[in-house]
Amino acid sequence: MSLQQFINEAISPWMQENGPDSDIVLSSRIRLARNFEQVPFPILANQEDLDHILDFFQQEYGQQSFGNYHQFELVRMNELPSIQKRVLVEKHLVSPHLVEHSNHGAALISKNEQVSVMVNEEDHIRIQLYFPGFQLEKALKQASEFDDWLEEKINYAFDEDRGYLTSCPTNVGTGMRASVMMHLPALVMTQQINRMIPAINQLGLVVRGIYGEGSEALGNIFQISNQITLGKSETDIVEDLKSVVQQLIEQERNARKRIMDQSGVQLEDKIFRSYGILSNSRIIESKEASKCLSDVRLGIDLGYIQRIPKTILNELMILTQPGFLQQYAQKNLSPEERDVLRASLIRERLKLENKYS
């Protein structure tokens, strides 16, 4: 398979579009946690119950379509080889938690991969809906419509006072986690981000690097999401998140401008050095790759680098993860082998761009 073909098949179609404010916001996501009323939550349910839920989803929703989302396919985790499972995790279509409980876990995935429903994760149902760029309201509207569609056939665990009942007390109420993935290199460079994170936390929102709290943000990508799910309506939660994200966008743009004005040459140098590393190295670890990709993406946004689409950051951040590298190689690879393949895949990818421009 050619690299172009591999990329086309590897990257979710929705991800290749640029949404609003896509110089800074990579994607918007709404996740809704739901449960069946009569069945214990997956943590305590027996095998039979969980299998019933899987069969129900297969029968009622497999090969169905909703709105613009054509043909959902139910993928059972226990039928997938482990590399394939990792690939689904790296595409953010399923969580690592679902993969670890592969006996009863499944995912209902729409053809364009914009909607995925995890079945038998921590909750029976977790609806995830992605939009490119900054489109939280639209995501909320469609997630809610999709939720209505499922609810026609499912008696949800719901209580008038507590709302949607979930396995974890942190999700009860709306069951909703709204999140936005942001590329904030200038706020990191100017160290403003360190001052902003505690302030954002105080507003009931969480900021984390894409690979979790405690680890530094890979590729200067941060996920901002709501922490509170009880006592506030879905619309209010999204409104609050939206206003914080808007401020972050503004601050990031200002910081970029300031850096360009004050130390344009140094910035340009940093960007092109990273571009040099990506297009020439023979061994590259994921951490360095992420850092360089962030620089190149910034270079594209600022107009220093042309002829490379800005979706390349999203694309290569995903493509160069272990699962994808091994799928590309069609075999298991040691960490050292992965670092070599990662370098060569990135080089190839950049060459591809220059060839077609």
Partner: protein, 184 residues
């Protein structure tokens, strides 16, 4: 301690994972944590239970104390969900509910927990499922209208208040007839 994945680098990250109620210790280096998916983008499953069980343990002190006292309104000494079998003690340890019924079983005890996790809130104020929500929607509307009515009376806007009062009556009638349908 060496990393349990690569057995090469020192383990710099230590997690406690709770899977199906079983605790598992994870000691890995930063590279493996990332590459083996120990640090997923949704890291809630790692950090929050730890944080929560901290909250609950703190919370369980007065609970165990109250078991010694005989007070008529206290819950029975061992609070256990009849549907899934989860006890309150287990719940505070793993930080997860076992089923929808648990919410009723543990009842009011949950208020302080919810308030701490959700910035002081313990009551839902969002979406209501369409199919089951008919009655709830009307009741919520009545509640809102009553508040409006009180406000109008206090500000002596009686003409407007009369209109709102009529609306409340209409909603109440609507609810009664819906309940009537349900009984048949």
């Amino acid at each position: 301690m060496e990393c349990q994945e690569c057995h090469q680098r020192p383990a710099t990250l230590h997690f406690t994972q709770v899977i199906n109620g079983h605790k598992k210790e994870v000691h890995v280096c930063e590279k493996c944590a990332y590459e083996q998916g120990y640090m997923p983008q949704n890291s809630e499953s790692f950090s929050l239970p730890n944080l929560l069980s901290g909250l609950f343990n703190f919370d369980s002190y007065p609970v165990s104390q109250s078991q010694d006292q005989t007070s008529s309104y206290e819950a029975p000494p061992k609070l256990q969900c009849e549907k899934c079998g989860l006890t309150y003690d287990e719940f505070t340890r793993i930080g997860k509910f076992g089923c929808a019924k648990c919410y009723k079983t543990f009842g009011e005890k949950l208020n302080p927990i919810f308030r701490r996790v959700h910035s002081g809130n313990s009551v839902h104020d969002g979406k209501v499922p369409k199919r089951m929500g008919g009655d709830i929607h009307v009741r919520k509307q009545i509640e809102e209208q009553r508040q409006k009515l009180n406000h109008l009376i206090r500000s002596e806007e009686f003409e407007e208040a009369a209109k709102v009062r009529d609306q409340i009556r209409m909603l109440e009638k609507q609810m009664k007839s819906e309940q009537g349908d349900g009984d048949q």
